[in-house]
């Protein structure tokens, strides 16, 4: 396949940035999207240009490092991460736009790389169970209904890639935040901190510059792990419950 790429190039956070057009040739449909970018970068290096910076690591869709907006969609046309998107999803001769996540809380570092440390700060505000090493009771001391364990798992699958924020017209992190709250709040182990967790994490989320939620649902559509949209409603319920109890 031969493709035309229009890629966002931005040297530094202060730089204005612009879309730059490149051609890549002989792309195999079995390549992943990132392997296609590798091909471009190898060519750029040899021709003396600086390669396109992009975050990536495991290339198995689990570390959450990669993430670019492809033709206006976070992670591109398939419901997966950019590293697991394959070129067979495109056609010979296509023009593909590649941009970084665009959100106020995710400033661009360089080219397609953004700073997602705001997510870490949301977790630091309460996305944990306070159980110092060594203090745990025997694992079978508390049975956890399978439904609860499965519900927790479904939300714990979040990889923190940021696609939900990038897809949201408001740059909201409600889906990310609700995923962690729902994971921990449904489990008996998470119950003692149930109220403080939701209050503190939501406050941290707001403090990091993420936008509000207007129920457009783009987040859940873009999520490569399928975190369900009702997760947000469940978080709102937890939030109201915590406010009432305070």
């Amino acid at each position: 396949m031969n493709l035309t790429l229009r890629i966002w190039r931005q040297h530094s956070p202060e730089d204005k940035g612009a879309m730059v057009t490149y051609r890549v040739e002989d792309i195999s449909p079995d390549m992943s999207f990132l392997e296609m970018l590798d091909v471009l970068n190898e060519e750029l290096i040899l021709s003396g240009e600086e390669p396109v910076a992009f975050d990536h690591d495991c290339r198995e869709g689990i570390c959450g490092a990669c993430g670019v907006v492809i033709n206006g969609q976070a992670h591109g046309p398939e419901r997966t991460t950019a590293c697991q998107l394959h070129m067979r999803s495109f056609k010979d001769g296509d023009t593909i736009d590649v941009e970084p996540w665009r959100a106020a809380a995710f400033p661009v570092v360089r080219d397609l790389v953004v700073d997602r440390s705001a997510f870490d700060r949301v977790i630091q505000a309460g996305g944990y169970v306070s159980v110092p090493t060594g203090s745990a009771p025997e694992a079978h001391a508390t049975a956890v209904p399978k439904e609860s364990a499965d519900y927790a798992f479904e939300h714990a699958e979040c990889i923190g890639c940021g696609a939900c924020v990038a897809a949201c017209p408001n740059g909201s992190a409600m889906l990310f935040t609700s995923a962690k709250i729902n994971h921990l709040n449904v489990l008996p182990q998470g119950a003692p901190e149930r109220e403080t967790r939701v209050l503190n994490m939501v406050a941290a989320m707001d403090g990091q510059g993420f936008g509000g939620c207007t129920n457009t649902g783009e987040c859940a559509t873009a999520c490569p792990k399928g975190i369900p949209l009702p997760s947000i409603a469940a978080m709102n319920r937890e939030y109201l419950r915590a406010l009432r109890k305070r």
Partner: protein, 647 residues
């Protein structure tokens, strides 16, 4: 002098493990180790490099104990460390199944599975601690798979006959890592951990013979910084990416441990590499990494190839009696669940016979037709759904209707920095935990034991042993102007400057690929003296070419991924040579190290305990110069070495 003209130095011994009954040693060591008064702990700074299962759990636990932790990861967030990609599960001797499991059996299985090249004291401790890990992770809210009664579910992994593997669908590593990450996040919020993300360790600072800090580079600004403390913990993972194609993350690298090795830490058993039998075969030249299909699939999938060489029929067209379920045939007792080294070699053998399937004949079938018929498609989906989906995404083939194609790939490195029972390297004050050390898996790691070891080291072992070192101060502050600090900084700056100055005509990746192919061919699944000698000739030439022809665009004072890459490849080019030398000197087969010259009549690995019952700890002398070999004799008091049999 040739690199292979190594010298044998003084033996090295672990002096920290107490003697006496193996089951009492860990208790005794914990009692005998000195403690640091809680009020004094905050005066000690511990540097932790890496935030995977080992580093994340260690950083969180040390901070909970009251130490001041300064922690680093090269990724943008500690949650992205490559432990996250571990799929199958974590072993623990809970015996919840009442199927005859015990601490002693896990100990026994691990020593045997490692082909009798691991230290008994360490392995026993690992088995003891395994049960606490599960308790800790459950308390953190790790959503392990559960039965309808609300209790934890388990499954079986290779090399064992009990069901002791706890799991969270095919994402156990992710869930355990997030548990450790969340514990670490809590300590970051509390101000007990100072985290530096997107910051890579580029050298170790050794002052008066003790590890006192690191030199790191901020990957965004390019700034070189010095971080000093009382002890340094390396939790930087393995070096499987020396092969270029592996199941490791693209960023996984050996720089931290290799720099430590150059500063005096012995490197043990570098040739012990695990080739995982169930990975998705490569699809072309563009391949940038390989993807694992969890070993757990071997619980229900059956591995086969056509009986006849060159049979190109579609799998569904090959009748049952023309299929060879070779693992079930050769190893009836363990069947498809033989250890990884054995399954990988068997796959290579059938492919070498011309019976491989798929492009280039580099693949075998992993077939779920029987499992789907027995359990129903829904049950198979519940157990393995995400793996099947990943397989289909990569290959565009539906594994529910057509058997998966799999082939072995580099997955894990059992070798690493030599450590004593306290997990301290030969440089006082430098500790290595998780895959970065060599300690527990011998010549072959059993499935679901990497997660166990990473968390054992980080949550329970290191936090109990590092006190002993810290309590034996004084650790006088090191001035930033100290010559050892300045030398380390100028060394790093000089090296980065050299990489940028070459201005050659080859990319860092092109060298990495070439090195990887060479290592796969000569130091991969089967090794020979002539092949290893060939590699030992080629590597220095390739290294020389690298430093003459590499092209790194941009500058050092900016976000520069080519520079990061080139710097890591430069270290792989030195480490590769040591791996080949280690493989050459060990003229026996054991576990994942298969020397063609040393096999039984049926082609199994043939150990030579008379000559090689030791861990090989290598001391660095100079780049490209012959290293010194220090042997640690292995003593087996409880599990007596036998020819491993899984038949």
């Amino acid at each position: 002098m040739d690199f292979s003209d190594y010298r044998v130095g003084e033996p090295v011994a672990d002096t920290k493990a107490p003697d006496g009954p193996v089951a009492d040693r860990w208790d005794r060591r914990r009692f005998e180790a000195k403690l640091v008064n809680p009020a004094n702990r905050r005066k000690h700074t511990v540097i932790v490099v890496g935030t995977g299962l080992a580093g994340g759990s260690a950083g969180a636990t040390l901070a909970e104990q009251g130490y001041h932790v300064v922690q680093f990861c090269f990724q943008d967030s500690p949650r992205r460390a490559h432990s996250i990609a571990a799929q199958g599960g974590i072993n623990a001797a809970k015996n919840y199944r009442n199927d005859g499991d015990s601490v002693h059996r896990l100990f026994y299985d691990t020593v045997k599975g490692g082909d009798f090249r691991a230290r008994e004291s360490n392995v026993h401790r690992l088995a003891e601690v395994s049960v606490q890990i599960i308790d800790q992770c459950v308390a953190q809210g790790v959503p392990f798979a559960r039965e309808y009664g609300g209790l934890l579910d388990t499954r079986s992994f290779g090399g064992v006959q009990v069901s002791r593997t706890f799991y969270a669908r095919g994402q156990t590593g992710q869930q355990l890592l997030l548990g450790a990450y969340q514990a670490l996040s809590r300590q970051i919020d509390a101000g007990n951990v100072e985290l530096h993300a997107r910051t890579e360790m580029l050298d170790l600072i050794v002052v008066d013979g003790r590890a006192r800090g690191i030199v790191a580079r901020d990957l965004v600004s390019g700034e070189i910084s010095v971080h000093l403390g009382d002890a340094v913990v390396l939790a930087t993972g393995g070096y499987g990416n020396v092969f270029y194609l592996s199941t490791n993350a693209k960023g996984s690298n050996a720089t931290a441990i290799w720099r430590a090795h150059r500063k005096g830490a012995y490197f043990a058993n570098p040739c012990f590499t695990q080739i995982h039998p169930t990975c998705i075969p490569r699809s072309g030249e563009h391949q940038s990494k390989l993807t694992l299909m969890s070993e757990s699939l071997r619980n229900d999938g059956r591995i086969w190839v056509p009986k006849a060489a060159g049979d190109t029929r579609a799998p569904a067209d090959i009748p049952e009696d023309e299929r060879d379920y070779y693992l079930e045939r050769i190893y009836p007792a363990f069947g498809n669940l033989v250890p990884r080294d054995i399954a990988s070699r068997a796959a290579k053998n059938v492919c070498d016979e011309g019976r491989g399937v798929g492009p280039g004949g580099q693949g075998v079938y992993l077939d779920f037709a029987d499992a789907i018929a027995r359990m129903g498609r829904a049950a198979v989906e519940e157990k393995y759904g995400n793996l099947f989906e990943m397989y289909e995404r990569i290959t565009a083939e539906d594994p529910y209707s057509r058997p998966m194609r799999i082939y072995p790939a580099v997955h894990y490195t059992m070798g690493g920095l030599w450590v004593d029972y306290d997990l301290q390297t030969t440089v006082p004050g430098l500790f290595a935990i998780g895959e970065a050390n060599f300690s527990d898996h011998g010549a072959n790691r059993l499935g679901a034991s990497a997660l166990m070891q990473g968390l054992a080291d980080g949550y329970f072992v290191l936090p109990a042993t590092i006190n002993d070192y810290l309590a034996r101060g004084p650790h006088d502050p090191v001035p930033a102007a100290h010559p050892a600090v300045q030398d380390a900084v100028s060394g790093v700056e000089e090296r980065l400057g050299r990489l940028l100055a070459v201005g050659g005509d080859r990319t860092p990746d092109s060298f990495h690929r070439e090195l990887g192919e060479l290592m796969w061919d000569e130091c991969g699944m089967a090794r020979t003296e002539s092949g290893l000698r060939k590699a030992l000739e080629r590597i220095p030439a390739l290294r020389d070419e690298f430093w003459r022809r590499v092209k790194v665009p941009g500058t050092g004072e900016e976000f520069n991924q080519s520079l990061e890459k080139a710097n890591r490849v430069a270290d792989f080019l030195e480490l590769a040579e040591l791996m080949c030398l280690d493989a050459l000197h060990r003229a026996e087969s054991c576990g994942g190290h298969f020397r063609e010259e040393s096999q039984t009549p049926d082609g199994e690995a043939l150990r030579d305990d008379e000559r090689f019952s030791y861990a090989a700890a290598w001391e660095f002398t100079a780049a490209g110069a012959a290293p010194v070999l220090h042997k640690e004799e292995l003593v087996f008091e409880y599990v007596h070495p036998t020819q491993r049999s899984y038949a």
